[in-house]
């Protein structure tokens, strides 16, 4: 089967009168890595949560491995869990504080592959993410942020998913640790062929993890395409603003201000068009 492992079609999510996600759609081929970039309020996290089954879309479908998901059905959720896993931003809170790391990693194994020897598998997983077996006996609070994020990845890998949704997975980490985790993610993708949906506000990080990217703003996708191309020749004024806002050598704040004016102008120009549409 060579079709996409994940296909999202015109996803909409409304919270009361507020539209968080507005017509998002994309396809993710197996082993591919897709970035979803946006600022707060762009709807990127809501999209990730819909993919993971934590929110039900108002309309639109999520198709995993050729099957349209129904988050309400318990059977479906378990089927989905075996294929799609999620890594959260906060590596601190994503573990039951009472359980040791090894116990936490073993739990999804018990659910999805009962009756097998989990101890060997757990140490294998720990090794795969670069944690010593000794740390398996530690409680989450005794681990550093980077170690906890490694453990979270190990826990997700235990289910051998085909898709990993990473919601700001390295945002809370120090730069030196962030580079370690990004390296680990690259290795895992090469070795295990897992597809990534990498949600982040950080274009630079997205560049290092993904091949294609979506840029989201106010719940809509404003630009999509190969990540390098978006960075080299941003087509949408918002993407340009986003890029120029990132500090670096020769950072030009005047240019950022110019970008902002261009974006405002584009917004004004777009408004009547939107009103004319049915």
């Amino acid at each position: 089967m060579t079709g996409p492992v994940l296909r999202v079609t015109s996803l909409v999510k409304r919270f009361g009168g507020f539209t968080a996600v507005d017509g998002v759609g994309f396809e993710l081929p197996p082993g591919h890595s897709l970035g979803i970039v946006g600022e707060s309020g762009s709807g990127k996290t809501t999209t990730a949560r819909i993919l993971a089954g934590l929110e039900t879309p108002t309309s639109g479908t999520v198709e995993l491995d050729g099957r349209v998901l129904d988050a309400r059905s318990r059977r479906d959720r378990r089927w989905q869990a075996r294929r799609l896993q999620m890594i959260f931003q906060d590596p601190h809170g994503s573990f039951d504080p009472r359980l040791t790391i090894a116990q936490s990693i073993a739990e999804p194994l018990r659910l999805h592959a009962p009756g097998t020897d989990h101890r060997a598998r757990v140490s294998e997983l720990l090794e795969q993410v670069g944690l010593s077996a000794r740390l398996g006996g530690a409680l989450p609070r005794d681990l550093s942020g980077g170690q906890r994020q490694r453990a979270a990845i190990a826990r997700a890998l235990g289910i051998t998913p085909r898709v990993l949704v990473l919601d700001e997975a390295v945002a809370a980490l120090d730069v030196s640790i962030q580079a370690q985790i990004l390296g680990l993610l690259a290795d895992l993708r090469r070795d295990a062929g897992i597809a990534y949906v990498f949600v982040s506000h950080d274009l630079a990080v997205v560049r290092h993890v993904t091949e294609t990217a979506l840029v989201m703003r106010h719940g809509r996708v404003v630009e999509s395409g190969p990540t390098e191309e978006i960075l080299r020749a941003p087509a949408h004024p918002y993407t340009r603003l986003l890029l120029d806002s990132i500090p670096g050598p020769g950072w030009d704040l005047e240019r950022v201000a110019r970008d902002r004016r261009a974006l405002d102008a584009a917004d004004h120009a777009a408004a009547p068009v939107k009103r004319a549409a049915p």
Binding site: E39, V175, S176, I246, P247, L253
Partner: protein, 325 residues
Amino acid sequence: MNPDKTDKTDTVLEIAGLSLAVRGTPLLADVTLRVARGETVGLVGESGSGKSLTVRSALGMLPRGARASGSVAVAGEQVLTASPRALREIRRTRASMVFQDPRAALNPVRRIGDYLTEGLRARGVPRRAAEARALDLLERVGIRDPRGALRRFPHEFSGGMLQRVVIAGALATEPALLLADEPTTALDVTTQAEVVALLRGLQREHGTGMVFVTHDLDLAAAICDRVYVMYAGRTVEEAPGAALFGAPGHPYTRALLEASPSVRGERAELRAIAGRPRALAEAPTGCAFRDRCPKAADACAADVPAAIAHGLSLVACLDPEGTGR
């Protein structure tokens, strides 16, 4: 209040040999930092490096039970030995601080107008004048409809707008020194650019000295005249902002740059630094970075390296980058 408010010194913050320990746990060792009038100084480091502690010491905000040695002077006035009264005076007139999370820095049940005028009112400025001043400040930090903003509450503003309000408050007293502790970390990147532009503009206008604390080396190098890089409670490098990208002196600075992903230029492979950042209490003897340093030699374990001149920078390393061996 203070008759000789005009100080002739050019140095608005001078930290010399500052060491800090709490109940036997060392947190800072021998930190030295100088900020001149009108200068922007970056303080960069990962968690546990002591950058926030350092900047807080300038206002005398030390952790409970802390023992400090060395000297901290704001516009020529000693902070560590200051009486509570003198400390209040420094905080009120000489130095202001902007925090990471503007929402946590503001009292949620008080109006923006109250927040901006209470400092001035406490100094005896009449109500009318204080309000006029608050209006002027809000206008200058780019708040639309400043008159309406005075009557609104913090929750009615976005994070970026609220940080502008906090900056307006910090500048209300026209301080000689502005301490900004990760002022843009909680903000979106486009908002960050706005706030940074605002800070720079206001600072140039008033000749305020600014300390900009951040974990983002790129940001610090882009906007700061000079940058101090901290690791495990010590300063490991002091360099002009522009020199930091081109010629990092300390292996740690270089490693940080190589570990930071960038959106510009060719896509370069990220090189991770082994291990995790250390706090001073858990750092190895000698050079604190030597357990993660690719160039570490036996000599690094002997003593904490002294800062030596390296190009335009001061580097605390026995074998700075680019000199070869």
